[in-house]
C-alpha cells in the first residue's frame, strides 16, 4: 500500500515534466481492418504522429463496420482518456450519440473521411465523395467522346459514401446528355459481387462502353468479368489504392479518383495535435478531387513506407483552393 502511495506521488511530481515532452496520445478510430483504404489512412496517421512527437493507438471493431462495437470502443476510450481523437464513424447517423459522449468527456475530436451528421468536432478532414464522383465520372465520359452507354456499380445501399459518389456520377452524366445510362446496381463495395453483377449485366446489354464503379475493389471485379468474357469497356473506380495504380499502369483501368487515404490520416492527426498545442486549425480541410490516370500516377506509385506527411502549410494552402 505504501509503495502505491509513493508511486502516486512520484507520478504527480513527474507528470508536468512528462507533458512538457509533448507525447500526446491520439486515439484513431477506423471502420474495419479489412479495407486497404483504412490501412493507408492509419499509416498516414502514424507517420504524422511520429513526425510531431506524439503516439497513436488504433481502435478498430473486431466485426467489420460494427456499430455496437464502435460504441463500446468509445465507452472504453472515455475511460482511457487519450489526449485527442481522430474519428471515422462506422455509420454517420448512428454514431452521433457516441460522439456526443466524447464531447461531454471533453476530449477534442477530429472527424475524418466520413462526415458525421452530428456532434461537435474540431475539424473535418476528408475528400468530397460527390466531387470525386463528378470528376472521375467526367473523365470517363470525356474519354468516351461524350457518347455511348454506361452502367454504374454502386456501393453499399445506405452508405453515405456510396450515395454521394453515385450522385456525383449522375451529375457528371447530366453534362453529357448523349450518353445513355443502362443500369445502376449495387456491388456492395465487394469485388466478387461486382464481378458477378457485371457478368449478369453483360448478358442483358450487348454493348457497354463504360463502367463507373464506386470503389476500386469493385472496379477490379468488373475488369475481371470483362476479361473473362473477352469484352472491352472503359472502367473507372474511386479510392486510389495500390491495386488501382497497378491496373492503370497495365492499361486495364482508365482512372481512379484519389481519395487521399494517406493524406487524410496525416492531416487529421496533425490537426488533432495542433489543436492540443493551441495552434490554429481550419474548420474543414477538404482535398480537391484528383483523378489519377496514365499520365499522372507516378507520384502515387511509391511504397507507403517511404511516404511521409507533407507540411501543414502546404496542405492547407492546397485545400483552400478547392
Amino acid at each position: 500500500m505504501k509503495l502505491k502511495i509513493l508511486a502516486g506521488i512520484a507520478a504527480l511530481i513527474l507528470a508536468p515534466a512528462a507533458i512538457a515532452q509533448s507525447g500526446e496520445r491520439i486515439a484513431v478510430f477506423t471502420k474495419n481492418q479489412t479495407n486497404p483504404f483504412f490501412q493507408v489512412l492509419r499509416m498516414g496517421a502514424d507517420s504524422a504522429a511520429k513526425q510531431m512527437g506524439a503516439t497513436t493507438t488504433h481502435l478498430i471493431p473486431t466485426k467489420p463496420d460494427s456499430i455496437p462495437e464502435q460504441m463500446s470502443l468509445i465507452d472504453d476510450v472515455v475511460i482511457k482518456k487519450p489526449s485527442a481523437i481522430v474519428f471515422t464513424p462506422v455509420d454517420v447517423k448512428a454514431m452521433v450519440p457516441g460522439i456526443q459522449k466524447l464531447n461531454a468527456a471533453g476530449i477534442p475530436v477530429v472527424n475524418v473521411n466520413d462526415r458525421a451528421e452530428g456532434g461537435k468536432f474540431v475539424a473535418f478532414v476528408g475528400s468530397s465523395d460527390h466531387a470525386l464522383g463528378v470528376a472521375t465520372g467526367r473523365y470517363l465520359l470525356q474519354a468516351l467522346g461524350g457518347k455511348g452507354s454506361v452502367i454504374i456499380i454502386e456501393g453499399v445501399k445506405g452508405s453515405g459514401a456510396s450515395a454521394e459518389r453515385v450522385r456525383g456520377f449522375q451529375d457528371a452524366l447530366k453534362e453529357f446528355p448523349q450518353v445513355k445510362l443502362l443500369a445502376s446496381q449495387p456491388g456492395n463495395f465487394q469485388r466478387l459481387q461486382a464481378l458477378q453483377v457485371m457478368e449478369n449485366l453483360m448478358q442483358t446489354h450487348a454493348q457497354i462502353d463504360g463502367v463507373l464503379a464506386a470503389n476500386d475493389s469493385m472496379a477490379s471485379g468488373v475488369i475481371e468479368a470483362l476479361e473473362g468474357a473477352n469484352r472491352k469497356s472503359q472502367v473507372i473506380g474511386i479510392n486510389g489504392t495500390k491495386e488501382a495504380i497497378d491496373a492503370i499502369k497495365a492499361g486495364k483501368l482508365l482512372a481512379t479518383g484519389d481519395y487521399n487515404g494517406y493524406l487524410q490520416g496525416c492531416v487529421s492527426t496533425m490537426a488533432a495535435i495542433r489543436e492540443l498545442r493551441k495552434l490554429p486549425v481550419p474548420k474543414e480541410v477538404i482535398f480537391p478531387p484528383t483523378v489519377v490516370h496514365k499520365g499522372n500516377y507516378q507520384p502515387l506509385d511509391v511504397p507507403l513506407e517511404s511516404r511521409s506527411c507533407p507540411k501543414w502549410e502546404d496542405v492547407v494552402k492546397e485545400a483552400a483552393k478547392s
Partner: protein
C-alpha cells in the same frame, strides 16, 4: 396436472443447474485478476460500470437463449430481429409522432418473429437451425426494405434516458438486466413453464405423460425470446438514438457462445442462468480489457475465439460434459 404427477415429473428430470463452479467462473476470475494487474484503467468503478452496461444488451439476448438452448434448440434470428425492431421503433415513432406507438410496434414485431420461430419449430417441426436461419433472412430483408429511404434517427430524448438514465446511481440498463435475470430465474425454477422447459430438453416423453402441452411450451419459449429481443431493441434504439437495419448482425452468435461458455449444454436440458451471466461478463470483460491494453484488433478477434473454445475445453476436461 396433479401434484403427484408434477413431483414425479420433476424427479425424473436431470438435475437442474451445475454441481460445482463452472469453468467460466474460474475464467472470469482469471481475467479480472490478470487485467486489473496489467491493463491501465481496468480496475476502476467507472470502467466496471462501463463493462456491465455494455453487457446488458447481450444479456437480454443470452437469457432467453439459455432457455432455448436447454430445449435443444437455438435462435439464429435474434440479431436480425433486433436490428429490424430498432428500425420499426424509429420508423413508427417518427412517422406517427408518438414514441409510445413506436415502442409498442417494436415489441409487437419482435414477439411476432418469436412466434413465427416457435410455430416453424414446434408445429412444422423444422430443425431450429433451419427455421431461425430462415427467419433471419426474413427479418433482415424486412429491416433493409423498411429502412430504405426513410429517416431512422432522431428518435428523441424520451428514449435516451433508457440508456443514459440512472436510478439511485445505478444505470437503468443494469437494473433492466438484473430484473431480467430475476425474472428468468423465477420462470425457470418456480413455475410450471420452467419445468416444461427443462423437460423439453431432458425428457419430452415425461412432459407429454404429465399432460403438459409440448408444442405450446416450445412456442412460448421462442416467443419469450422474441419479447426480450424487443426489449433489447428499445435499449439499442436508445443507445443509437434511432434504428439501423444491420446494427446487431451476428449478436446471436455471441449470445450462443456466452450460453455455451456459461455451461449450458446443447442437450439434456441442463442449464445455468448464472453461468450465462458469467459467460456474458467474461466475453465483455475480455474485450474491454484487450481494448484498454491496446492489443492489436486482429489479435483481439482471435482471442475471442480462443476464449470460447478454452472455456469449453476446461469444462470438458473437468468432466462436466457428457
Amino acid at each position: 396436472m396433479s401434484k403427484a404427477n408434477r413431483v414425479a415429473l420433476t424427479a425424473s428430470l436431470p438435475r437442474r443447474g451445475l454441481p460445482q463452479l463452472p469453468g467460466v467462473a474460474w475464467l472470469l476470475l482469471a481475467l479480472l485478476l490478470g487485467l486489473s494487474a496489467v491493463a491501465p484503467g481496468f480496475a476502476s468503478a467507472a470502467n466496471a460500470l462501463n463493462v456491465a452496461q455494455q453487457a446488458t444488451l447481450l444479456l437480454l439476448l443470452a437469457l432467453p437463449m439459455t432457455l432455448i438452448v436447454m430445449t435443444e434448440g437455438l435462435d439464429l434470428s435474434m440479431g436480425a430481429s433486433l436490428s429490424l425492431c430498432t428500425v420499426v421503433l424509429a420508423v413508427v415513432s417518427l412517422g406517427s409522432g408518438s414514441l409510445a406507438l413506436g415502442i409498442a410496434a417494436a415489441l409487437l414485431a419482435a414477439v411476432l418473429i418469436g412466434l413465427l420461430n416457435g410455430v416453424l419449430i414446434a408445429w412444422l417441426e423444422l430443425p431450429p437451425f433451419v427455421a431461425t436461419l430462415g427467419t433471419l433472412g426474413v427479418a433482415q430483408g424486412l429491416a433493409l426494405v423498411l429502412a430504405e429511404g426513410r429517416s431512422t434517427s432522431g428518435v428523441g430524448d424520451g428514449l435516451a434516458t433508457l440508456w443514459n438514465g440512472a436510478v439511485m446511481g445505478l444505470p437503468v440498463p443494469l437494473l433492466f438486466a438484473a430484473a431480467a435475470w430475476g425474472l428468468f430465474h423465477v420462470l425457470l425454477h418456480h413455475t410450471r413453464f420452467g419445468v416444461a422447459v427443462i423437460a423439453l430438453g431432458g425428457n419430452r416423453e415425461a412432459l407429454k405423460l404429465a399432460g403438459m402441452n409440448e408444442r405450446g411450451s416450445l412456442i412460448a419459449v421462442y416467443a419469450l425470446g422474441g419479447l426480450f429481443v424487443g426489449l433489447a431493441a428499445l435499449l439499442l434504439g436508445a443507445r443509437l438514438g434511432g434504428g439501423h437495419p444491420t446494427a446487431a448482425i451476428g449478436m446471436e452468435f455471441d449470445a450462443i457462445a456466452a450460453v455455451a461458455v456459461g455451461g449450458t449444454l446443447f442437450e439434456r436440458g441442463k442449464g445455468s442462468l448464472g453461468g450465462t451471466v458469467l459467460g456474458v461478463l467474461a466475453v465483455g470483460v475480455m474485450r474491454n480489457g484487450l481494448n484498454l491494453l491496446s492489443m492489436p484488433s486482429s489479435l483481439q478477434v482471435a482471442a475471442v475465439g480462443a476464449v470460447v473454445i478454452v472455456a469449453l475445453v476446461v469444462d470438458a476436461l473437468r468432466g462436466q460434459q457428457h
